[in-house]
């Protein structure tokens, strides 16, 4: 079952939550909606589920090519897992999962035996069988999230929508559940869309990532594309783990602090102020610079975590910070001292003219 969002606009009072958003999720895909808070990602998910509605005339939602924009949530058959789970606090785990089956009209409602069997299967799937008679208050956060997933799956949804599925969990449980969800997706192949503000989560889990910013989609692509070829300074900035240099674009290359670097393609208008992004692992540090394209910097600090070494430098010209990542062996070979001056070289630079969308 595919999901199609076509030109959806949504306002809350004067605030535009979604501005002409279009997105297509193919059958069986696992797609992440990634963005900072207030970017409209949850609103988009709620509109897809039928929990919110676009402005009148403000776009359409299609499930498998069929327009469901005016279909109420209760008839869309979308499985939705809420950020704070929204478990029915007065019902046991079993009854929470059974709810969607029990509220069906009499004609399509399974009998008690079928309900028991189905719920039993699902609780097995989420590994909560022994806790069936507990109340939500007696569960841990990770268990609650799994109940909420089982509950969403019980109605045999056509698509699965997850709002910050791991947002309220601690780091370890989050990693476990992430792996479990990927496994689940491989098993049942349900079209799944999840919202997150955690770029690592999105890049690790999703087959495609859509990045939202202020109600617009900034970039859609595979995790590799998003990470390797961010489409805008915002995406670079949001994914983090990047050095930002201010400079000027001159004849297809970029000048940073008096030094010219080969930009390898410039996005935006030529001959203007520029933003250059360099990932910490795309920086080479040497004692004595070879050729023109090096910046001098002073070593401020370095430390090693496992096989990776982090190096903090301070540029000599404008005293801004540069963060570098290299292997432990490389750091040992350099045998640096704090305070020492080194030369910085860029393996790969991505340059945007400053007037380009920020």
């Amino acid at each position: 079952m595919s999901i199609e969002v076509q030109h959806v606009t949504k306002r809350f009072g004067a605030f535009t939550a979604l501005d002409d958003v279009s997105l297509k999720v193919e059958t069986g895909e696992l797609v992440a909606l990634l963005g900072p808070s207030g970017s409209g990602k949850t609103t988009l998910l709620r509109i897809i589920a039928g929990l919110d509605f676009p402005e009148p005339g403000g776009g359409q939602i299609l499930y498998h090519g069929q327009d469901v924009t005016d279909l109420p949530a209760s008839q869309r058959k979308a499985g939705f897992a809420f950020q704070h789970y929204a478990l029915f606090r007065h019902l046991t785990v079993f009854e929470n999962v059974a709810f969607g089956l029990r509220v069906r009209p009499r004609a399509t409602r399974p009998d008690e035996r079928a309900i028991r069997q189905r719920v039993g299967e699902l609780l097995g799937l989420v590994q909560l069988g022994p806790l069936a008679q507990r109340l939500p208050a007696q569960l841990s956060g990770g268990q609650r999230q799994r109940v909420s997933l089982a509950r969403a799956l019980a109605v045999e949804p056509r698509v699965l929508l997850l709002d910050e599925p791991f947002g309220a969990l601690d780091a370890k449980v989050r990693k476990e559940l992430r792996r479990w969800l990927r496994h689940l997706h491989e098993e049942i192949h349900l079209t799944t869309l999840f919202v997150t503000h955690d770029q690592e989560e999105a890049l690790e889990l999703a087959s495609r990532v859509a990045i939202l910013r202020e109600g617009r989609i900034e970039q859609v692509g595979s995790p590799e594309t998003i990470y390797e070829h961010p489409a805008s300074p915002f995406v670079y900035d949001f994914l983090g783990n990047v050095n930002l240099f201010r400079g000027r674009i001159e004849q297809g290359s970029v000048r940073i602090g008096g030094v010219r670097f080969d930009a390898g393609g410039v996005i935006g208008s030529p001959e203007t102020a520029a933003l250059a992004f360099v990932r910490p692992h795309d920086i080479r540090v040497t004692r004595c610079g070879k050729g023109q394209s090096t910046l001098p910097a002073r070593v401020v600090r370095f430390h090693t975590v496992g096989p990776v070494a982090h190096l903090d430098l301070e540029r000599l010209d404008d005293r801004s910070c540069v963060s570098v990542q290299l292997s432990k062996e490389e750091l040992q070979d350099l045998s640096l001292q704090v305070g020492e001056v080194v030369q910085v070289e860029f393996r790969k630079v991505r340059v945007f003219s400053e007037d380009y969308s920020i």
């Binding site: 589920a49 929990l51 109420p72 939705f80 606090r89 007065h90 509220v103």
Partner: protein, 296 residues
């Protein structure tokens, strides 16, 4: 001479947490509270029963064989039977609209719902006299059609409705606002209709608050004096509720009968308090469970 300086401990030298008061102060304050509450609450309560039974159980029970008393009991029950369901229905509707939806003018509506609480009971009766009484706006119209509201049962019901108007609503609104609409949304996504969502999700979550509001509403409906007094006309055996009957008996210097009827109302009050504190316990437990369920 002792060369080592000693830190002097204040207030008796006992080790105390900073939030704990010394024993004498605790005793003093608890004593004061007991004295005040005893004098103002317990003694009046006890005196009602003492005076009711002053001449023994016989005269006490006799009061309840008087047909006038029985008709007062009946009218009081009717008033509560009308006011409680109607105001409960209103309270539920108002709370659903206010707590689950966003709309303009919500704050004004909240204030208007509370209005009857800030109006003197006497005025609560008066407004219906001014509307439906012989001199009122609709008086002539009603007289033409031979309909009587004031000094008749409909007036009593209206006055009771007015004074008990906010009870259920003001209990449910903050409760439902605090619960948000997440669980209802979850139910809708799982395919439940509006009705099923209400019966299976919302109602179980608010049942204690609802019961609490109903208990208070009922107590006031049965006990209201001022407002009902204005519209009743005090016709014995016809438009007399229990509290009005207490007044009549008392003014006739029939102390035993007055206190006997009063003791019935006092029992109602004590029962109300007992139920109320039981429901509060239940509600606290379910709130604790709820906050445990939503916090990670």
């Amino acid at each position: 001479m002792n060369p080592t300086p000693r830190l002097s401990r204040t207030e008796g030298g006992s080790r105390r947490r900073a939030t704990h008061d010394p024993r004498w102060m605790r005793a003093l304050l608890v004593g004061a509270a007991f004295l005040f509450l005893g004098l103002f609450l317990f003694v009046p309560l006890a005196s009602v029963f003492a005076h009711a039974l002053a001449k023994g159980i016989g005269p006490y029970l006799e009061t309840f064989q008087d047909p006038v008393t029985l008709s007062a009991i009946r009218l009081t029950l009717i008033a509560a039977a009308v006011a409680v369901p109607l105001n409960t229905l209103f309270g539920v509707c108002a709370a659903w609209a206010i707590a689950k939806f966003d709309f303009r003018g919500k704050q004004v509506l909240l204030t208007l719902i509370d209005l009857p609480f800030s109006v003197s009971p006497v005025i609560s009766g008066l407004i219906y006299v001014l509307l439906f009484g012989a001199q009122g706006w609709l008086g002539p119209w009603l007289a033409e059609r031979d309909l009587q509201i004031i000094f008749a049962i409909p007036g009593i019901l209206l006055a009771t409705l007015f004074v008990t108007f906010p009870f259920v609503a003001r209990e449910l609104i903050p409760l439902m606002q605090a619960q948000g609409r997440m669980e209802e949304e979850a139910a809708m996504v799982l395919g439940a209709s509006g009705w099923k969502t209400w019966w299976r999700v919302t109602l179980p979550n608010i049942k204690w608050g609802l019961l609490y509001g109903i208990i208070l509403c009922n107590a006031r409906a049965m006990g209201e004096f001022g407002a009902v007094s204005v519209v009743s006309g005090h016709i014995r055996g016809q438009t007399n509720t229990l509290p009005l009957h207490v007044e009549i008996l008392y003014n006739e210097y029939n102390a035993v009968a007055a206190f006997a009827v009063a003791s019935l109302l006092t029992l109602l009050a004590v029962l109300t308090l007992a139920l109320k504190s039981w429901v509060e316990g239940k509600q606290a437990a379910s709130l604790a469970a709820a906050s445990a369920a939503t916090s990670p």
